[in-house]
Symmetry: none
Subunit: 290 residues, 2 copies
């Protein structure tokens, strides 16, 4: 490389703060498909980023290039240089950090968790679970424990938009017996229980089961004892280089479920979502869609 070690990507990143809306939109688009997106025609890039052609032209000059072709030449130069590096292997995620840095170690572990967890999920079971949760006739109770109640809440928050008829039950609270009074046959309990498994939650599961409810369990690889009575059980690998376990994989699973359920109920929940979005939409950050 002729000039310096600084890549165009770095250059753009540093400028990111001083850019205006459209420019940032463009910059992010360039970084998004880096470097391929910058190697096509200018007009294609503009359309891709959702900005106008002149914006791209102005931006390129702001970056210090005389014109778009020169900018492209820079990208190609860089590309040629990186391919030469034998490091093409991706053993480091935070590329700027040494491979032993916690950023890389942790990420590596979580990815391994994801691979393991997803590899074990039976899609039919998954679909069945989603069907259950999409069924608006059934009331859904979402039960979280000491650590998992934040996950439960997150799940609740989103499911609330997708469908009516659900309740968030913190198993740590002592009010949960009241909720159970209303539980009826066919209702669904989505129960979070990871180590150390909580007695409260177990009790709650037992009672719910005895009342004829369906139990969907979200647990770890060692499986909460609840799994013996649960109808559907998702076990997630949660190990991490930390004093605690990682819930990131569970988060991924939850979001996937939300997405699936939302799709199942799409026609009916679309309006709910749009209404909500409108209510919360205060930002002018994005161009209006036309």
């Amino acid at each position: 490389m002729a000039s310096t070690e600084r890549t165009i990507s770095d250059l753009i990143q540093d400028m990111l703060d001083d850019l205006t809306r459209a420019e940032r939109q463009l910059a992010l688009s360039v970084l998004e498909g880096y470097p391929a997106s910058g190697l096509g025609p200018l007009s294609a890039l503009a359309k891709d980023a959702g900005v106008s052609v002149p914006t791209v032209a102005r931006m390129v000059q702001k970056l210090g290039y005389k014109g778009y072709p020169e900018f492209q030449a820079g990208l190609r130069e860089e590309l040629k240089a990186t391919v030469k590096t034998p490091i093409a292997k991706h053993d480091s995620w935070a590329e700027a950090a040494p491979s032993g840095h916690i950023l890389n170690r942790f990420t590596e572990a979580v990815l391994e968790n994801i691979r393991h967890t997803l590899g074990q999920i039976d899609p039919d079971t998954f679909d069945r679970a989603c069907d259950l949760m999409a069924d608006k006739e059934r009331h859904i109770y979402i039960v979280g424990g000491r650590i998992t109640h934040t996950l439960a809440e997150y799940f609740f928050l989103h499911m609330q938009v997708v469908r009516p008829n659900l309740t968030h039950v913190p198993s740590t609270s002592n009010t949960w017996p009241h909720y159970l009074l209303n539980a009826k046959e066919g209702d669904v309990f989505v129960i979070f229980d990871v180590r150390r498994y909580e007695n409260n939650t177990l009790k709650l599961a037992e009672i719910a089961k005895s009342r004829g409810a369906k139990l969907i369990l979200i647990t770890d690889q060692w499986r909460s004892p609840i799994h013996q009575m649960s109808d559907i059980c998702f076990s997630n690998r949660i190990g991490a280089p930390s004093a605690w376990d990682s819930m990131a994989t569970i988060m991924l699973l939850l979001e996937t479920i939300i997405s699936a359920v939302q799709t199942l109920n799409w026609s009916e929940t679309k309006e709910r979502i749009e209404g909500l979005e409108d209510m919360f939409d205060q930002t002018k950050l994005f161009r209006k869609f036309t």
Copy 2:
């Protein structure tokens, strides 16, 4: 042309034997600086390979492309795909599910998010942030918004064990002005703000800043407006095939931070953890671990 696994490089190599002298010369030149050399102007490539312009034009058509631009488009396409980590290209994560299944689509998107996000984190910044959060002299305020308050709570929950002196402030609540009364110079605000950015949170950040606090912002790729006044900013890619964004990447980041901070304070953390464990054991909240 789109769906097959065959790269243009393969295609060229296979043809290599049937080519004439000038064509082979060209082909080798393309492979030499693959793919950068093919992404410049046709004339540059010709000169590079030491062949004439028409030779390149003829060759490209021999490869089955309608013209040089189309050939370039193919290269770019390929480049875009290669940039995806081998791990992310794995098209079936839930191996039993078809590759179009939401389980695979969502997972792939999240992995791509992780790759992007981690790739942009500067490890020095990360370390600096962790140092700040490990400093027990500073009081730490953790601020979440409408969606992110669950993340904030999760973060709070764990940081609480690692160190004293921290407060969880839900920006949605109207009680937060009270918290600010106590904020003093040198304190740290960890602020969560993803689209759609919340005015409450922005106001809170402004006031905190004006009182001399350090601001650590956790936001999305578009960056909350708060980033202009923040001392440290982590931007996470959060796009997903869903009506909502995915917080899984943020979760990963948070857990990594927790792990790093915990390591910094280990001697003290250890005792706190043990104390906590004892307390929970005594109250029999958990089943015995065997």
